[in-house]
Amino acid sequence: MKPAPFRYVRPSSVDEAISVLAAEGYGAKPLAGGQSLIPTMNFRLAQPAVLVDIDRLDELRGIRDGGGDGATNGLYIGAMTRHSELERSAVVRDRAPLLAEAMPWIAHPQIRNRGTMGGSLAHADPAAELPAVMLALDARIHLRGPAGDRTVQFCDFCTGFFSTALAPDELVTGVEIPPLPAGTGTAFLEISRRQGDFALVGVCAVVTLDAGGVCTRASLTLLSVGDGPVCAKTAEDALRDRTLTPDAVRDAGEAVATIDIDPPADIHASAAYRRQLARVLTARALDTAARRAAGA
């Protein structure tokens, strides 16, 4: 058998899962959809002593429009909602079109039928689409541990390479995505070697235009160019109070590629190639988001 032996626990509630995690300490891992954890275990790169199967906890599943569990009138998504459910959801398409646009880029349909949103966010792969989307949409992530519930702004959740603010005895219970301001358009683009492969570079663009077509807020978030999702702050600041002319869009791509990111080189792509992809994809995503904002 490929994975190392482990003890399997299937709790019937979130609180029971947390008490098992708290009792077992670092040797225990929550098992969500398993689409990243199980391959890692098949390679024996991960050898958890205990797996706590949270995949069947219905209290962690579902998409709720308006209010959710939080203070804003946003979209609430339970952590164990599967990728394929998000992909097919009309509410997600309507309320968080950036998320809907990113879903088909996540691996293959067979993986999306099992993989969960919360699992992907907790795993925090720097090449993953969902952390970048949540950062771009200014989402708040809901966590629960032995001390109770807490929420963390997504920008404070990702702390580094495959690292998050999640404690070993905490679970992600859901995310809350605030509503988009009026006059906002979004776009998601990525390049991978083959359909379904990990992204070489991906870009999320969120653009808000005022009635005169001037950009009041731009958010540019990239994936697969750093330790986690990366906010392109220089480019974002330079776009504020500007009309998104072709020059402004090109300048933003240049600022992203030369100032905001320091991409890694690996067997998939050189750092220089990633910079070039970031330059081109940023300009394209920004242009598309601005057109959508103008029509919104």
Binding site: M1, K2, P3, A4, P5, F6, R7, Y8, R10, L31, G34, Q35, I38, P39, M41, N42, F43, L51, D53, D55, S84, A107, H108, P109, Q110, I111, N113, R114, R194, Q195, G196
Partner: protein
């Protein structure tokens, strides 16, 4: 052998009740415990698609599911596609009751060595239910989670289109 847990599930409509180690993958459970070796094992980390089966009607990688996670589930494998008339469980090549997708693969030469074929067939069952009239781009996207080293995919695409036409009538 470590601790075992007893799981109950149905595979191709037949109920099973088996003790399994938690680390046993669904792919290995099907092949070694139930002797259903039609589900093939290639990469065992979710890339090649050879081990694709249906779990409660949805295509999944059986190498990325532990058998214990399938407790209570309905599994369909390639062995359940054809309905052999002689009761042997093994469809004869000349048998008329191959599943339309299997028949289309045979006619269009949609396979050569056949290693990737069971997984591809299982992906196509729900795909063609949801997309009864797919265009070539949709077909290629549906096949993107499967690696085939023989065919160059061209004849597989042809077979899917043929199967869609047959199943529409």
């Amino acid at each position: 052998m470590g601790e075992t847990l007893t799981i109950r599930l149905t595979v191709n409509g037949k109920a099973y009740d088996r003790p399994v180690e938690p680390r046993l993958l669904l792919s290995d459970f099907l092949r070694h415990d139930l002797h259903l070796t039609g589900t093939h094992v290639g990469c065992e980390h979710g890339v090649c698609g050879a081990c694709t089966v249906l779990l409660d009607g949805e295509a999944v990688r059986s190498c990325l599911v532990f058998a214990v996670q399938a407790d209570g589930a309905e599994i369909s494998t390639v062995e359940g596609l054809a309905t052999p008339s002689d009761g042997s469980g093994i469809p004869h090549p000349e048998d008329a009751d191959l599943h339309p997708i299997q028949a289309a693969f045979r006619e269009s030469h949609g396979l050569q060595c056949g290693f990737c074929t069971p997984g591809i067939l299982m992906t196509l069952v729900p795909f063609l239910e949801e997309n009864p009239d797919p265009d070539e781009e949709q077909i290629r996207e549906a096949l993107s989670g499967h690696l085939c080293r023989c065919t160059g995919y061209q004849n597989i695409v042809t077979a899917v289109r043929l199967a869609a036409d047959r199943m529409a009538t």
